[in-house]
């Protein structure tokens, strides 16, 4: 599994995940994921469009990082989950805790509006 980060605007980073977020995939990225979200004064948009598999271990990783960001008073949202991943997020009820956007402009606009 792969993870990359890109600053979209000061204070907002897009994290892109790609691959299977299963046991192996989660182990591959979780340390780097935690390191990225440790950045202070920053909100995060997590792009899930290239995630091909998500089960409870992956959800656990998303939750841990979302909580860490929320504790600092910043936002952690998800972007464009593929159909199967979206089904899992809804079945687990994650979408009620971590906002899901289908459009990055909308996600960014909401984040900047909240920050203002």
């Amino acid at each position: 599994m792969e993870i990359s980060a890109e600053e979209l605007t000061p204070g907002v980073i897009k994290i892109t995940l790609a691959g299977r977020m299963d046991l192996v995939g989660t182990n591959e990225i979780e340390t780097k994921f935690a390191g990225i979200v440790a950045k202070p004064d920053t909100s995060f948009i997590v792009d899930l469009s290239s995630v091909s598999f998500l089960a409870s271990l992956g959800i656990r990783t998303l939750l841990l990082n979302a909580k860490a960001v929320a504790r600092k008073g910043y936002k952690f949202v998800m972007l464009n989950p593929a159909s199967g991943v979206d089904t899992i997020l809804k079945s687990a009820g994650i979408d009620a805790l971590i906002p899901v956007y289908g459009d990055i402009d909308a996600a960014l606009a909401d984040m900047l509006a909240i920050d203002n």
Binding site: R20, D22, L23, F53, A55, S56, S91, G93, L97
Partner: protein, 144 residues
Amino acid sequence: MNVPISYSIRLRNDRAELQRVGIWINKTGEQLGLPVNLIYKLDVCADEALMNVIDYAYDDDESHEIDVRLSRLGQLINLEVEDDGKEFIATCEPSPLDGVALEDAPIGGLGLHLIHSLMDECRQVRRDGKNLLILSATIDGSTR
């Protein structure tokens, strides 16, 4: 008389085996002509069910065998997981995330809930010292 088409795989009680099963589920699902979204659900349920067996079914450090079978009879799909671990009841649980705020959300406990919500039916049998978990779905139902 209709006869189900069935494929099986055997694995050890080792988390490292899960990736191999995931590949097998996807390949076998295609061979059975299943829609992509149903294959995905079966992939997730197999992963969750096997993780439970591997993590909780055994109190020893011995190597055990777990059998997974995927079969199709018409529109009905069965995913079976059979192990020789201690008796386990995969009860249907609501999501532990229902009605909680992010800061109070528990980490973990989602596996059984996902299995029950993704499959049409979940049955368990204990026979000859083995647990048999049977998860069923219909191809038509996979469009939901």
